[in-house]
């Protein structure tokens, strides 16, 4: 993928995640204040289409953003070659996406 494409994906996912992270931080503080427990988390998420969509979108954006970000750091700080960089990006991105969607499934599907 070209550098410009990577840049655009990186920034688009960043913009998308600004409101998502703001909501996430509010939920973190709210849930912690109520005493974090499995019942507290699952009571909010299980069977909720809205939270399912919210977290699925969040996972997708974070996977793309994180994968491109890690690629950039490996390029600038570790001096990796293109092939290795792309391999790292795709493997990390797909692992994040799979684990993330699995987590969403775990807390949303009853």
């Amino acid at each position: 993928m070209s550098a410009v494409r990577l840049y655009v994906w990186q920034r688009l996912t960043a913009v998308l995640m600004v409101p998502l992270i703001a909501v996430h931080l509010i939920v973190i503080i709210y849930a912690t204040n109520r005493g974090l427990s499995a019942a507290e988390i699952l009571g909010r998420t299980q069977g909720s289409v809205a939270w399912g969509l919210f977290y699925s979108l969040f996972v997708a954006a974070a996977s793309i953003h994180g994968a491109i970000g890690v690629r950039g750091v490996a390029r600038e700080w570790l001096g990796w070659r293109e092939t290795a960089l792309n391999r790292l990006m795709w493997i990390f991105g797909v692992v994040l996406l799979v684990l993330g969607l699995r987590a969403v499934f775990a807390v949303v599907v009853p």
């Binding site: 992270i21 503080i29 427990s37 499995a38 994180g66 684990l99 699995r102 775990a106 807390v107």
Partner: protein, 117 residues
């Protein structure tokens, strides 16, 4: 022939802001798989997830969690800073803005810590 690089920007407040943004991003990327794996415990039932959450009640983990909230808040605010610099007309006071972003992130982590204790 290598050229001597001017590295006098190192240690500058905006260089530090870029560094904090990068390091917080790497740490969040490292944390995310663990975060997802823990939530995935719910597949095996509420008890599995609760078992893990009991472990998070220890002071050391609470301290680490506060650090994670700080990382997320500071990466968010630092990211907004980057987006503003890249997409909006330049404005003075960048150093002050970076300091304010850092202070705001510490405040968010502070609110989390109060909710936690």
């Amino acid at each position: 022939m290598s050229h001597p690089h001017n590295t006098s920007y190192r240690g500058d407040r905006l260089w530090l802001a870029a560094m904090v943004h990068r390091v917080s991003g790497v740490l969040l990327a490292a944390f995310l798989p663990l975060h997802f794996l823990v939530l995935g415990l719910a597949i095996e039932g509420e008890g599995q997830l609760d078992g893990f959450l009991q472990w998070t009640k220890t002071p050391l983990v609470k301290f680490a969690e506060t650090g994670l909230v700080l990382l997320l808040a500071i990466h968010l605010l630092g990211g907004i800073r980057v987006l503003v610099i890249e997409n909006m007309p330049w404005r003075d006071g960048q150093k002050r803005m970076a300091t304010l972003a850092a202070a705001a992130a510490v405040c968010i982590a502070g609110v989390f810590l109060v909710a936690l204790l």
